[in-house]
Each structure stands twice: as C-alpha cells, then as structure tokens.
Symmetry: C7
Subunit: 236 residues, 7 copies
C-alpha cells in the first residue's frame, strides 16, 4: 500500500512522481454541484446547478460576477471558493484602478492559478478543494472560457463541465462541439441547459430554482433572472 505513505501531505512525491494530496483535493471538486460552460468567439454561456443544504435553506449561489465582462462559477468546497472569488474581485479592481480597463478572463485565470499554486506549496496549508470556470470577453480575443483545478493548472476550453455527475454533461458537449462554433446566443443557451440537464439527478425537473445561467457577449456579462431562466427552461 504505497498510497498510505506518500499521501499525508502535498510536499511529498510518490515514487511514481505524483502528489497524492493534490489528487485528493480534485475529488472534492467532483463532489461539488455541476457547472457547465460553452461558447464561441461571439458568445459564451455559464450554467450551474444550485444546491440546497436542506429543505429549509434557500439555494446557494454558484455563479459570481467578477467585473462587467467576466463571471465565474464555483464547484467544490464552498468556503475555499469564496476566498478565490474575493481574490479575483480584488485583482480585477486593482487592474481597473491601474490601467482603467476591466481585467480580461485570461488575466484573472492566471491570478487564480498563482494563488492555487502558492497554497499547494506552503507547508502549513492544503490544496484548495475547488474548481473554477471563468467565462468572459476581451476586446482582442472575444469570448473565452477558462477552467482551473486544485493543482493550479489552467486550461482554456471551448466548452467544459465540472463537479458531481459532470461526465454526462461533458459527453453531451463533445457530441455537439461542431454546433457550438456557429451557435447564436440562444442556441448556445439551449446547448448549455441541455448539457446541465444531463447531469441533473432527476433529469425531468430542471427549474429556475435549481439553476443559474449567465451570458457573456462582447463586452457584456449578464446573469439571467429567475423569470428569464424559467422562460429559457420552458423552451427546452
């Protein structure tokens, strides 16, 4: 059982050259709620399942605006996520103050990655058990989707799904990758919601209560209201 010896902290390499604690933190992401993102240069959609801790509690938000062009969805340990969202907003404010422009999604993904990498190397810390999906636009590059994982790695994605039961959503997206490239905003929303629905436990009842949808077009980021989401879902 090599596993036992090399997985107690994130500063010890296993004989196979792996950092087990980082891999375990990725498991925490798999227990989070499902997040789906897809897009092309002109538009991108971020959709997330909301979760209720119990029948008595209200839904927890999963999508957060960072600035007027970028939004982020969080999956995994929610307090670790809250810390990163706060960091991204500070980073964005700093950039706005210094350069007079909104931070682009690539810059913010790099900032998140750096913070994750640092918390993965501190002897008195632990890897963050959270995955982020950033969706935003920049003037030069159009709409972009970035995904971070607990190891600090950042990947630019054409579409992605993370969190619990996200495999079904990914399979759906893979099948529709061609459609994405030319999709209009409305088509894009439909693809995102159908992918999200694949990952929903009770696939028939996706309601505006249970999901959040954010739209990114050139220079705009919009979180859909509950009413709008209901309309979208009836179109499904």
């Amino acid at each position: 059982m090599f596993r036992n010896q090399y997985d107690q902290d994130m500063l010890t390499w296993s004989p196979q050259g792996r950092l087990h604690q980082v891999e375990y933190a990725m498991e925490a992401v798999k227990q989070g709620s499902t997040v789906v993102a897809c897009g092309n240069k002109k538009c991108a959609v971020l959709a997330a399942l909301k979760r209720k801790q119990s029948k008595l509690s209200s839904m927890q938000e999963k999508i957060f605006a960072i600035n007027t062009r970028v939004g982020v969805a969080v999956s995994g340990l929610s307090t670790d996520g809250a810390k990163l969202v706060k960091l991204l907003r500070e980073e964005s404010t700093r950039e706005e103050f210094v350069y007079g422009r909104s931070a682009c999604p690539g810059r913010l993904a790099a900032a998140a990655s750096k913070s994750l990498q640092i918390s993965m190397r501190k002897s008195s810390g632990r890897p963050c058990g959270v995955g982020l999906v950033l969706v935003g636009s920049s003037e030069q590059l159009g709409c972009q989707i970035f995904q971070t994982c607990p190891s600090g790695e950042v990947h630019q994605m054409s579409c992605t799904a993370i969190g619990g039961r996200s495999q079904s959503a990914r399979t759906y997206l893979e099948k529709n990758m061609e459609a994405l490239e030319t999709a209009s905003v409305d088509e894009m929303i439909m693809i995102a919601l159908r992918a999200l629905n694949e990952s929903n436990v009770d696939a028939s009842d996706l309601t505006s209560d249970k999901c959040e949808v954010a739209i990114v077009e050139l220079n705009t980021y919009t979180l859909k209201s509950a009413a709008e989401v209901t309309t979208l879902l009836t179109n499904l």
Copy 2:
C-alpha cells in the same frame, strides 16, 4: 480503516476529497443545546434551550444581542462561541462607527464565515466546534435567518434548528413551512416554541427557566424577559 490516516488534522484531504477534522467539529455542534429559528420577511423568532451544567449552577445564556437589529444563538463548544460573538460585536461596532448604520445580518454572517474559514486553514489551529444562527433585519431585505457551520459555510434559511436532538424540531418546521410564510409575530413564536419543544428531552415541561426567546421585527430586536416567556409558554 482509511479514516485513521486522514483525520488527524484539517490540512489533509482524504482520498475521497473530504476533510475529516471539519466533519468531527460538526459533531461538537450536535452535542450543543437546541436552537430553533423561523421567520418570514416581516418577523423572525429565535428560540434556544438553556442548559445547566449541574443543579448548583445558574443557566447559561445561549442567545446574544449583536446590535439593535441582530441577535445570535450559539450551539456547541461554548468558549469557541464566545469568541465568535465577541468578533461579531466588534464587526458591528466598526460598521456603526464607519457608516453610521447597524450591520445587517448578511454582513455579519459573512464576517463569521470568514473567521471560521481562517481558523480552518491555519496549521496551528483547529476548526471551531460551534454553530451560529443569526436572526436580524435589514431595511432592504426585511427579516433574515443565517446559519453557519464549522466549515465556514453560510446558508440563508427560512427556518432552521441546530444542536442536540434538533432533528425533531427540523421535522416539525418542515411540516409547517407554508404556515411560516404568512404567520404573524404571535403565530411565529408559537411555531418556534412548538418546534423547540419537540427537541426537549422531557417534552412536557418547557419552562421559562429552560428557554430563551428573541423576536426580530423590522428594525427591532427584542429578547423576551422570563415573565414574558412564561406567558408565551402557557399559551402553548
């Protein structure tokens, strides 16, 4: 027995992506005294069972006023709770001093969450073994109920019950969720006390000695006196 290897400190992920020490701290909350809260936009009620260490001691208070609009009930390790109540009062004073207004319950819940999250990440610390239920009102949003847990997660609740034997209270509240939405202050108090009574060991003898009740209406927070509680209990 994987459990043995990954539950010695809160900086080690288990292979399943869990932080066991945080889960154990939640057990400490389950050993605390029962706290019940319920409300709607217009009013909210916070009720708690008081505990006696022994026959010789006086009752320990469980509900604390934070400012003129917000009160908090504590369940779990009482010294950890005292630290958080102190923190919330300082936070509230700071807000009052800087902005000239009472801190709203959402702001205070976020402050508690941040403090809990920090003590969960320090290598030389431990997660706080305490759960808080904050009840208060803000001008924009009306009355609100927030609940924190040792992991730093905050949930907004329509009604909730934490602490020892709180399952019975939660079951009672779930059955009466519809009634809550339209309840007047007096009806709300009755619901809260009946829920609390469900969790009382000796269900027949809920006395003013054994429980505390606080009422939140728009812009007011009132802790009921022993005499008032007695009157309320006779109405039960």
Copy 3:
C-alpha cells in the same frame, strides 16, 4: 481504541466531536484539594482544604485575595493556578487604575476564561490543569460565585465544590440549597464548613491548620485568621 488516536493534542477533534486533552486536564482538577463555595445575594463563603506536601512542609495556601471585594480559590496544578492568580490581580489593578473601581467577579471570571481559552488553542501549549472558584460582590448584583474549568467555560453558581472528593460536598450542598437562599453570614459559614467536612478524608478532624475560610459581604472580602477559623470549627 479511538481514544489513542485523538487524545495526543488539544487541536484534534475526535470523531465524536470531543477534545480529549481538555477532558484530561479536567482530571488534574479532580486531583486538587477540595474547594467549597456557597452564597446568596447578601453574603458568600469560600472554604478550602489546605494541603501539606509532607510532614516537614508548611501548609500551601489555596485562597488568594484579588482585590478588596473578590477572592479566588484554586484547585489542581498549583503552578498553573499561580499564573492565573497573577493574571487576575493584574486585570484588577488595570481596571482600578482606569476606572477607579474594583473589578467585579463577573469581569474577572471572563478574563480568566479568555486566558484559558487562548492556552487551549495555541499549538505550542496545553490546557491549564486548574479550576478556579471566584467569590466576590458588585454593587449592582450583590454577591456572586463563578467557577471556571480548563476548557475556559465559566458558570455562575449558587454554590459549588471542586477538587478531589468534592462529590460528597456537592451532594451536601444540593440538599441545603433552599437554606442557602435566606442564610445569614454565620449560617452560610456553617453550611460551607459542613460541606467541606464531607470531603475531608478523615472527617472528624477538620482543624484551622487544614482549612481556609474567606467571607464576602457587600463590598468586603475577608480572609479569616487561623484563630477565627478555630472558633468557627468549634461551633461546627
């Protein structure tokens, strides 16, 4: 044997949500000498058994004056107790200097609790193995009795007994709780000494050598001299 894994330091929760090291420190209090306190609003009495390390040594004092209104008795690891007594005296001096009044017993109990809580959370420390019983008076609230335990918890008591063999004393006090409420100073002393006598190993021979008695009335704290204690004991 879960015990073995979770009781090595005070920063590790057991799966049941307990902090074993804190519980073990409470055992150290049970090995201390017996301390008894009882009172009502008008008067309170603190009585303690003194201990001899050997036949050759003089008796160790167990009751210490903090200011002109408050005294404290210590049971458990005596060097830990000495540290706390020093802290309480400094706290009291500070209050006297700043506000021109004696610190009331509730304030001092809170100060002791805070210090105990801090030493329970430091990774490079251990919980103090000592219990305190504070007896004092304040103008608003009359005479009060507070008891601290190694976890930092403070309880206001009508009467209490801690230390080795204190169960017998507590049983005696419970039987006489009604008498306490109306007792005069002289009656109160008799109750305290009889309770202390219950916990004395050789119940017949309580001498002025072996016990200390302190009396709190409104605004006064008096430690009885050996001669006075002898007189009191003959009245027993």
Copy 4:
C-alpha cells in the same frame, strides 16, 4: 524495505547516499509531454508535443520565449514550470535593465539551477517536478542547448529529449549526432521533428495542432506559427 524509511522528505539521505524525493520528482518529468532539442553552433531547434487535457480544452503551450534570443520548453508539473518561466523572464529583464543586453542561455540555466537547488534544500518545500530545455544564442558562444533536472543539475547538450516516451527520440538523436554538426536550419528542423515523431503515441498523425517548433539562429529566436508548422510537417 529501506525505501520506506528514507524517502519521506528530501532532507534525509538514504544509507546508499541517495535523496529519494529528488528521484521521485524526476518521475514527474517523465510524465510530462515530450520535448526535443537539437542544434549546432549556428542554429538550434526546440520542438515540443502539446497536450490536451480533454477533447474540450484547447492545447497547452509548452514553449515560452524568455527574451529575443532564448526560448524554453517545459515538461512535467505545469504549475511548477510556470513558476520557473516567470523567474527566468524576471532574471532576463533584470540583466537587460542593468547591462543593456539579453541574458545568454548559460546565465539563465544557472539561474534556474539555483532556484531548483534552493527549493530542494528548504525544509518546508519540495523539489520542483519539472524539467526545462533552454535553447538560445550568445554572441561569443553561438547557439547552445541547456537542460535542467529537478535536482538543480544543468547539462549543456548537443541535443536532448525529455518527458514521456522520450527514450525513442533520444535513440533517434544519438543515431544522427554526426548529421547535427553540419546541419543547416532546415535540416535541423527535420531532425527535430522526426525525433519528436518517434515519441508521438500515434506516430502517423503529427499535426500543427499537436506540436510547437521554435528556431534559434544567431541573435534571433522565432516561434513558428501553426501554418509554418503545417508546412514543415508536410515536408516530413
């Protein structure tokens, strides 16, 4: 099983005089994507396989420009690599600012080595799980290739291949070492791409999507565009 005792941290020598943690970090390099470099005094080529995390993600870049004369390819844990690339760029900027010239590849390799050596000796760190291949030119020495490994060792190479499945590429290069010495830029590119192809999993389908090529001639560093790479590959 000596291994078990001496491989838990990088500050413990094994009885055979080995540092196991450093050797394990080298395993992480072997899991990276393949990087190939070859050159002579007049020109040098750096070629790398790009990797996709999943079908949904875009390709990760593996070759980074440090200054106008030097480029670096990274294989292994990508976040550790990002840290080193950042360090090399800062080092280069500093040199440019102080001496008014581009840092030569030897200077940069030494800077990377020093950083690797420091992170290998810090008790609260771990060896970086990354290998670098630096290719660049200096006026005095012509084109040069340097390779670092997690232990901080730097080797000047006439040609090299690191990362997963790199053994086949090395074998190909060894066979063609004589050809390298007199190769023109175009021949050099062909050798590099053929070597890279040897390490490609599906040897037939090396596309411009899957590989990056950078050329170093005297005083110039050029990263080939996708179109240029496609042209090169058709020539293969």
Copy 5:
C-alpha cells in the same frame, strides 16, 4: 501501556490528568547528591554532600551564596542548577539595585518557580531536572527554608532533605522536629549533620572533604570553611 503514549512531551496530559515528563524530571533530582536543611525563626542550617566525578577530580560545590542573607543548595542535573543559580543572583542584584535591599528568600523562591514553570510550558524545552533548597532570612519573617521541584511548585519547609538516599535524612528530621523549634545554632548544625550522615553511603566517614555547611542567622549567611566543618564533624 498508557504510559508510552502520554509521556513523550510535557504538553500532553495523560487520561489521569498527569504530566509524565514533569514526573520523570523529578527522578533526575533523586539521582542528585543529598541536601539537608533545617531551621527555626532564629537560625537555619544548609548541609550538602559533595560529589567527586572520579578519584582524579576535585569535589563539586553544591551550596552557592545568592546574596549576604540567602544561600541555595542544588541537587540533580548540575548544568540546569547552574542556570538557576545564575538567574537567582541576577534577580537578587536587580532587587538590590532598585530597592537598595537584599532579596528575601521568599522572593527568590518565587523567581525560581516562575522560571521553572516557564521552561515547563515551552514546546521547545524540557522541565529542569533539578531541585533547589533556599535558606535565608528576612527582617520581618526571620529565617526561612524554601524548596522547589521541577514542576515549579515551591514549599516553605521547617526542615527538608532532597536528592539521592534522602529518605533516611527526612526520617531523622521528622523524629527531631520538636527539637528544631527551640534549637540554638550549634544544636541546629548537629541535627543537620546527623541527618546528612543518615544519607551518606558509608555512614562512618563523613569528612570535611565530603560535605558543605552553611549557616543562616538574622541578616547573615555564612559558608563554613573546610577547617570549621572538620571541627563540627569531630563534635558529631
């Protein structure tokens, strides 16, 4: 074997509420050379067996003057003792400088206790393996004897014996406690030497080489010279 788990450092309580490392340090005192002290209000005597490391070495001193009124004898780990003697002399010098008077024995015993308590709580330390016997006089209280142990506890003694084989000396002193109260200086010296002789391995040959004697009378501390000790021993 609970012992194994709870005696590795002095910051861990055993389930019985004991600090084993402190108890083990007390064992180091039992391996020291014998020290005897006895006295009444008018005079006190401190006598110690000196030890030779080997036949070749000279005798090690065991009694040290702190100021003109107080002397101290050390038993146990001699380097720990040297540190405490240094501390007591500094404390005494400070008091003399600030208040213009010699530090009384009670003050010095408290200073030693505080230092012992601190080294017992530091995570990066160990309890001192040394016992002190302080003998001195103050104007108000006459001659006094104090004894410290590794836990920092201080006891005022009428007479005492610590170190190896000290039980026999203590038994002798207990039998002669009445005689002590009225003894003159000369009688006191005889009692101390006879008690010391009881603990001597070869009881017949107590020589001036082997023991040190210090006399405290009101305001004076005198270490007897070898010649004087010889005279005293012939009187034995």
Copy 6:
C-alpha cells in the same frame, strides 16, 4: 535494527555516539566522479575524471579556479558542490578586497569546513553530499592540498583521491609517496594521471575529453587545455 531509529536526521546521536546521516552523505561522495591530487612543497597537481550524463550531453567540469593561486575539484552531488564553489569564490574575493592578497588554500578549506559544519547542525537542513579537494600555494607554506568531507572535517594531505572507485588511485599513490616528495612538475603530472587511470572504468582509454588537469606552482594556478591534456596523455 538500531540503524532504523537513529538515522532519520542528523541531530540524533546513535547509542554508539555516531551521526548516521553524516555517514550516509559520505556515501554520496563515493558515487561522484574520481578526483586525484598529489604534490610537494614546490608543485601540486589536481586531476579529475569528467562525466557525461548521457551520450548527448557535453562533459561536466569538475575542476574550478577559485583565485589565481587556488583550484578546487568537486566530487558528489553537483548542485551542493556548485554552492560551495560559489562560497569559496566569494570568500576569496572578500579577502582580496580587504587585505589585497589571494586567499591561501588553508583559509579557504577552513571556510568550506565552517559552511559544511553549519549545514550539518541546522535542524532544517541536511549535510552536503559533496567532497572537495583544494590545491593551492601560499608564500610561506608552498603548495598545499586540503580535502573536506561532509562532516566538515578538513585534512591536509600529501596526496589524495576521492569519489567513485578512488580506492585504486589511493593504493597507487601510497606506493609512490616517496617519489612525490622530490618529483618535478612533469613527474607529478604523470603520477596524478597514472593514479587517475587506475580508477578509470575502462582503464585503457583515458582521453582529454574525459579528464581535467590543473597545475599549481608557487603563486600560479593553471588549468590545462584539452590539447595540453592530450599531449600529457600520450606521454603516459
């Protein structure tokens, strides 16, 4: 298996009074490449086998000039060696700056020893796995050879050989010790190369590619060029 318990860090003595980690670091030296030095008062020679990491890499230098009079050869963990060479050069520069003279080999050996000793005592470090052979001249003492080992010990040698397979070289040198005392520079070189050849794996093919030779005469240090080494080897 005592070994298991006492060889985990260099701050723990074994019951036999040994520091195992230091001994293990010496094993790392034995895995280095062979270094040979021999000399008399008038001249000294330092010769080292160079190593190739692989067929593709260029040779690693093993002999480094410290100042115009002193050179050093390194065997063992090469990054540890690089750190020490840097330290020696800084030390030399400092001496030149302050006193206006080249540091003599004895001074530099002492500086290396001090650095080695410090890294052997730091709790958060490890002994350096490297052996140095310093060869140089001072005006008073003529040519001198010093050798350091990981424990910080420095030995002045008439001749020495360290690194892998160095035993054969040492045996050859021992047989020729008399010849050394009167040898001219040319004879000395031949002795050094023959000794080095004894440790060469494939004894027949010592080429200028594979070895470095440095000559120290009064006030001069010269590293032989590849051409010169080839000439020397043909003379062999």
Copy 7:
C-alpha cells in the same frame, strides 16, 4: 525496550530521569583520540595522541593555544571541537580587550560549559559530541586543569584522561597521584607521556609524529616542537 522511546531527542526525560541523547554524545567522546593532563599548582602538562585519517594525510592537531596562559586539547567530533576552540579564543580576546588581562582557565571552562548547555537545550540542535581538557594558570590560583563533557558539566581535575582507550591512562594516573603533587616540570612530563603511552594502541612506538605535548607553568603556556617531543620520548 524503554530505551527506544526516550532517546530520540535531548528534550525528553526517560522514566529514570535520564537524558539519553546526552549520554550518546558522550560515546562520541570515547571514540576520539586520547588526551592526558596532569599537574600541580606550579606546573601542568597536556599530552595528546595525534591521529591520521589515512596514510596519505598529515596528522591532525589536537592541542590548541587559547591565549598566552591557557591551552586546550579536544577529543571527539572534530568539527564540534573546532567550534568550541573558536568560541574560547573569542571569549579570551574579549576579556583581554575589556580587562587588559588573559582569561584564566576557570573563566574559559565556564564559557565552554555555558555554550554546551545551550546547545543541549535548543530543540533544533544536538549535544556537542566533544570533550575538552583545559590547562592553564592564573596568578591567584596557580596551574589548573578543567575538563568538560557534552552535558556541559565542568570538573576541576588534578589529572585526567579522556578519549578512546583512556581508561588505561586514568589507571596509571591514579597510581601516581601522590607523585604529582610534588613533581617538577620534567617529572610531570614523564608522568603524562607514560600515561599517554598506556593508551597507545601499539604501546612501544610513541613517536614525535604521533603525540603533542604542551607545558603550563606560572604565566606561560608552551607547545613543545616536534624535536623537543622526540627528545622527551627518548628520555621515556
């Protein structure tokens, strides 16, 4: 096997009140080379066996002058010894600078003891594995010999022998203790050399190569030259 549990660091007492790591460090002294010292008030002699690491190395010095009146011989881990010799020389220089006189041997022994004691209490250190024998003279006290051990204990000796095989030397010295008291310098040297010879492995061949001799008379310290030692040995 209690030993296993309590000998891992020097801050843990064994149940018998022993510090095992300190005892193990004493074993390192027993592996050092033999040092002999003997003297009376008028003169003292320090003699040490020198050791060769190998046939190729020159002899290591074992006797070091501290100032014009005091010399010290070192046995055990030589790098630890070098650190202490440096410390003693600094201490001596400081005293000369401040008071204008050579530090006497007692003062220097105390300084060494303090340094040893500190390195025995630091959690991040280890006891020094070295024994010192200091020989020197002061105007008031004549010639003196002091011996330190790793625990920091200092003993004044009439004569002593430490290091490997020193038991035979000690036995010889014990037999000749009477002769020492009246010995002239020449007789003292003969006694020291004969004692040293007892500990020599090959008892017949004590040569000037293999031993060092230093003489202390009132106010003078002289290290004998090789020629003088040869003369002395022929007189043996």
